[in-house]
């Protein structure tokens, strides 16, 4: 099994990244290779970074309220580029009434405040596309 590679990004105009940084550290401690691309990323930048890094997972952190617009635009662009095997998950402030909508738009899971760090790492391990990580490390 190869190491799971995760791209963590803050989409849109959102300057609060304490949570994103905490999750980066937790996933690093869980043995994953975590690329943090920083604040104020456009959907194009996120998709381009995910491709260049060949990330297995994209973790988007959003607290701005723009999730109904910007998250579907990320998943749509991924699809347009032919990237269908990457797990896209979200953390931040997302009202529960929007969860169903986001899941319909390709977001696999949503983690709100207070999620135990272990739970996020376990979710990734269980749900990452197995074909992507089954290359035997030699």
């Amino acid at each position: 099994m190869k190491r799971i590679k995760v791209l963590v990004a803050k989409p849109g105009l959102d300057g609060h990244d304490r949570g994103a940084k905490v999750i980066c550290r937790a996933l690093k401690d869980a043995g994953m290779e975590v690329v943090y691309s920083g604040l104020e990323q456009t959907s194009e930048q996120i998709v381009s970074a995910a491709i260049q890094e060949d990330a297995d997972v994209i973790g988007l952190s959003i607290l701005s309220g723009a999730h109904r617009v910007i998250l579907p635009s990320v998943t749509r662009m991924l699809k347009e580029k032919g990237i269908t095997d990457v797990l896209v998950i979200v953390g931040g402030i997302i009202p529960t009434e929007d969860h169903e909508f986001l899941k319909r738009h390709g977001i696999a899971a949503i983690f709100g405040p207070g999620t135990p760090l272990k739970k996020a790492a376990e979710y990734i391990r269980e749900n990452v596309n197995k074909d992507r990580i089954l290359i035997e490390e030699k």
Partner: protein, 318 residues
Amino acid sequence: MDVQTLVDGLFKGDIISTTRLISLIENDFVKAQEIIRKIYPHTGNAHVIGITGPPGSGKSSLVNKLALTWRNRGKTIGIIAVDPSSPYSGGALLGDRIRMREISGVEGIFIRSMATRGSLGGLARATRDAINILDASGKDVVIVETVGAGQSEVEIMKVAQTIVMVLCPGLGDEIQAMKAGTMEIADIFAVNKSDKPEAMETVNDLERMLNYEGLDESKVGWMPLIVSTSSTANIGIEELVDKIEEHQGFLTSMTSEASHEKRAAMELVDTLITKIENEAIKKAKESPVYNELVKKIVEKKIDPYQAADIILRKYMTN
């Protein structure tokens, strides 16, 4: 997708092929060899630049500005940014992209972060092969950013043609500048954060260090240059790019059959070490005595040298 399809895609400039090939050479040593065999004749065209220096000196921010400047001059750029893996979890936090937001998503610039996975020389094992992939994809310039380098991470000299050492004010006096190791391998010193007043002292220390007719004849013909830079204040970036290109011109005028052979020999020895190491460890672990020897070492009935000799004599002779 099979390797041949990906390699064909690479030559056509397909980004997904490029990125998948880099993942394969990082994770699959057998496939890596097949890939390199197919692309090797197409390498050697890119100017490979190593950016090294202590943690926090501003390497990533400077790479961001350098790439932008080269892109404006019409070049295509590949970047490999290396950060360390955790010795505990094996995970890594690859944070160089944070400083490269200006060039993220720009057409003609490809950025790849890479974890060291236990390599200690400032690069990852797969870095050299990843350079070859970006080179074969047709990038004009390949920039390799090392991990934050202390005093002995000099692997970069084996893979880069021009080495830029990024320093910043406040890191130490002139004795630090005189020491062996990373300070010796620089072709160009970038004194970064030069908008700070103390930067002049760093420049002075470096000038004193360089203004010395030494006995080392390995660097004949090129006197390391000093450029004051600041990524945030946009100072000295164009000048640094000019100096790097000047060094490239110097290399072109200087390169001889001998220097090519020296580099090829270095590459051969490194590859031999990797192959022998991989094979030896695999065979050792498969050998029936391995676990028993480990136990004996714990019990102090045997020392690690003796145990290694037993494995070498019994299982490695062919």
